[in-house]
């Protein structure tokens, strides 16, 4: 990955420097957003918003920190803000026609098919994503960053702002939670088939 991104040029809001930043990290940020929000359109929109936020708050970027983990943190926050907003909107969707007739209620796609999953894994992946959605935010982010984005513990700690031991604990709890949910899911499915 090219890392010749000049932070001083970014801080000077240089367009070419930002173009390089977008070109370098767009794929990582897009995949991260996709793995959290489970919707390609929202994933693209949120990835773009993460870069816009980076542009607006580049002055707060500390010299010596990693631009990638900083961008990942922005993207994760954007994604969870979006999820909260979507859930809130869905909750109050019944009241919406009373106040705003033009706005359509938002829907979360439940049958998300990740474009990067081979056909034979589609069913397992759908179960995994459904189980992942039930985990707390920090466990979910730790799991996505480690298992799907291939980050190491140190990078995850820097991204979500916790210690190395906390990352380990978060991953342990995430896997435990996922196992429990998946066991229930497959047991229920097995009894249903009988």
């Amino acid at each position: 990955m090219p890392t010749e991104i000049d932070i001083s040029l970014l801080k000077a809001k240089d367009e070419q420097a930002f173009r390089l930043l977008v070109n370098t990290y767009s794929k990582d940020i897009y995949n991260l957003c996709l793995n959290i929000v489970h919707n390609p359109e929202d994933g693209e929109d949120l990835a773009q918003e993460a870069f816009i936020e980076a542009f607006n708050s580049i002055d707060s970027f500390r010299e010596g920190a990693h631009i990638k983990t900083w961008l990942f943190r922005i993207a994760i926050n954007k994604c969870y803000d979006h999820i909260k907003y979507t859930k809130r909107k869905k909750r109050f969707a019944i009241l919406q026609p009373l106040f705003n007739r033009d706005e359509e209620p938002i829907e979360i796609p439940s049958n998300f098919q990740h474009p990067g999953i081979v056909l034979e894994n589609k069913e397992h992946a759908a179960a995994l994503y459904a189980a992942l959605e039930t985990l707390p935010e920090n466990q979910q982010s730790a799991f996505v960053l480690y298992e799907m984005q291939g980050m190491d513990y140190k990078q995850i700690a820097e991204t979500i702002g916790v210690s190395l031991s906390s990352v380990e604990a978060l991953l342990f709890r995430a896997r435990k939670g996922l196992r429990e949910k998946l066991q229930k899911y497959y047991t229920h499915n097995a009894s249903f088939k009988k």
Binding site: V22, N23, I117
Partner: protein, 117 residues
């Protein structure tokens, strides 16, 4: 609770899928669209006109409220403008609205008129 081995295997296979999820390319024109949005943000004024207008309206409302409160608290009751309602007692009210003059007679008259051919 013990789970059947095939369910355990399914669970482990499902967890294993996480590592096999391939990286997806960004949609075409992603960089251009992002740069366009960044440029739009760059050219946007720091505070929009509508936001300024909202702040101004709130400030005017607050000022009017403060002025009214101060006026009411600092002016003695005798100097405050008299209320439009001057009825002090029930008798005054009856006189003002001529409640005593009212009866149902007009209703009866109307009913009698209707009965006549």
């Amino acid at each position: 609770m013990a789970t059947p081995p095939d369910i355990d295997k399914q669970v482990e296979d499902t967890l294993g899928v996480a590592k096999q999820i391939g990286s997806v390319n960004v949609p075409d024109g992603f960089t251009e669209r992002t740069m366009q949005r960044i440029n739009a943000v760059k050219n946007e004024p720091l505070i929009s006109v509508s936001a300024l207008l909202k702040v101004a309206v709130v400030l005017v409302m607050v000022c009017v409220n403060i002025y009214t409160m101060r006026y009411l608290l600092n002016t003695p009751a005798e100097q405050q403008p008299a209320s439009a309602v001057t009825s002090a007692t029930m008798d005054d009210l009856v006189n003002d609205y001529q409640v005593a003059d009212m009866s149902n007679e007009w209703l009866n008259n109307k009913a009698v008129q209707n009965e006549q051919p």
